[in-house]
Symmetry: C2
């Protein structure tokens, strides 16, 4: 029988479910608003009842438990999102669909999609940073998803402040961590509530934004030495940020390390909204292949 | 014939060469001062002529080129150490001894040694940070050495400064990066030239040191999610730093992430000076096994 692979990109505002053929061509795809599990997940279950799959890849908003030795492996853990804290996402799927699963974060699947089919095609490693309502980061190292005792939470790197920045930061845990200083709501709060896309492209605030994002690139470079750092998310649509980030990165690195050509090192995502689903499908396929060995 | 594995831990002040049996029991080991390649390496060559091996693992001071697609793969690259810049370390070895090689940094082999036989035994991931004359970091992710376009240079993470710290930092590239603020020479310069081991254990400067090292742990945690962070190097002999680092880490993380128990997460190395050689031998054995497949 022809193979079918499933994908769930579970985001804080919407879920995307998709099914593909054996070559990962998407056959069907739906968007489901993220409300409470009872509602959202019943749509998800319905989708996969109607579209049976041989394996399913899930990339979920988090924090989630990715530690296979943990009792709560497969759960969404401490999210403030109503109803989702301690939700046994993977367990509820397994109860209904007895297939192999891949289970990781939304940003890890995006990193994987970009690595295999997008900006980082042909490479063995990359980082994917999304700068949107929050800041999240995923990665691939030696061809494998970046995980350890848990998954990365790159949005919470500690930042050296820009000398001109008066904004205190909005992370409820750390105030002025990377997310607290650079996510969309931070950009808007720094600019007294002006929508991020309405701030003039030559405003000094974009320099500040680029400085922090470049600092994150600097830390990611010295820690991970990734072959590419890929940006996604709403804020990264501000194209003027890329030359500014590269310039600031160069200044902050100050010649210490020879990195890949910065125009190809600090880049915008290539797959856009498809990165996550692509990554999920690739991971589903791999799980299926592992299981049929 | 019984197997023999070789190890070279190439440090900035001394080289250690060793040969083991097939079970990685060290049979012979020598120390060679690091002077210029002509001198130091002729001792290394002599050692392996007298002690032939089936495979050799090398962990070298750096920066080194670990990128297999590069023309200078196997070289020490931009070191200020006289004679060693652009030295084709691996090439010179291969010319003389036609065996499989593992080639990585001194800190990556230490991380690998600690993971397989030391503090992180049984785990799949760890970070090893050495705080000595400089600060270096290596890591293992999903059981494999942490490498990408190059190798980590964790000593150069950007730091948020401690409010009480007046010391400007001594990194020639970044001044007050992690290494510039926490390596042995920084500790001594901050304390007006007093030898690090002579600074009273209750001096406030150790709080400052612990704050920066904890900040590094924080950034490493949110980027890598390692199962353990292991400290080595001269400065880490100050045992009082460990409870202080854990305390500061807890404050800086502020409950955002549930990490492993901090007493088992931020730890001193278990193998001490043997970590590097152990890692080299393990990697040599793996290369030998790969080659005989
Ligand atoms: N074109 C744009 N330019 C700058 N900021 C934008 C743009 N589009 C969206 N944003 C910002 O990105 C955030 C939304 O992020 P997005 O990645 O679209 O969704 P989410 O993170 O919720 O999945 C908002 O805070 C908004 O201010
Ligand atoms: N017991 C100690 N306490 C504090 N600092 C120490 C101690 N021993 C060595 N150091 C510091 O560590 C540095 C040497 O680092 P070490 O790891 O021994 O060697 P290297 O980094 O050169 O391989 C020196 O700057 C010294 O000040
Ligand atoms: Zn934060
Ligand atoms: Zn530096």
């Amino acid at each position: 029988m022809a193979k079918r692979y499933g994908a769930i990109e579970a985001g804080g505002t919407k879920f995307v479910c998709a099914v593909s053929d054996g070559n990962l061509n998407v056959l069907k795809r739906v968007k489901i608003p993220t409300t409470v599990p009872a509602e959202t997940m019943s749509e998800v279950f319905k989708f996969f009842e109607e579209n049976p799959c041989d394996a399913i890849g899930i990339g979920s908003f988090g924090p989630i438990d990715v530690n296979r030795n943990s009792d709560t492996y497969g759960y969404i853990t401490t999210t403030p999102k109503e109803g989702w804290a301690n939700y046994d996402f993977l367990g509820e799927m397994k109860k209904r669909f007895d297939v192999p699963y891949a289970w990781t974060t939304d940003v890890n699947v995006a990193a994987y999609g970009e690595l295999k089919r997008g900006a980082a095609k042909g490479l063995d490693s990359c980082v994917y940073l999304t700068v949107g309502t929050g800041v999240g980061g995923g990665g691939v190292v030696n061809g494998k998803l970046l995980e350890g005792f848990g998954h990365p939470e790159m949005g919470h790197m500690i930042m050296r402040r820009h000398p001109d920045d008066k904004y205190e930061g909005h992370c409820p845990y750390h105030k002025d961590c990377l997310e607290g200083l650079t996510a969309g709501p931070a950009v808007e709060a720094r600019h007294h509530g002006v929508k991020a896309y309405e701030i003039p492209k030559d405003d000094h605030d974009w320099e500040i934004e680029a400085y922090y994002l470049a600092q994150a690139c600097m830390d990611l470079t010295v820690v991970l030495s990734p072959e590419m750092i890929i940006f996604g998310g709403g804020v990264s649509k501000q194209e003027q940020l890329f030359p500014m980030m590269r310039e600031s990165f160069k200044k902050q690195m100050n010649g210490y390390l020879k990195t890949p050509d910065l125009d190809k090192y600090i880049v915008h995502c290539a797959l856009g909204d498809d990165a996550g689903i692509t990554g999920c499908l690739l991971l589903a396929q791999e799980e299926d292949e592992k299981a049929s060995k």
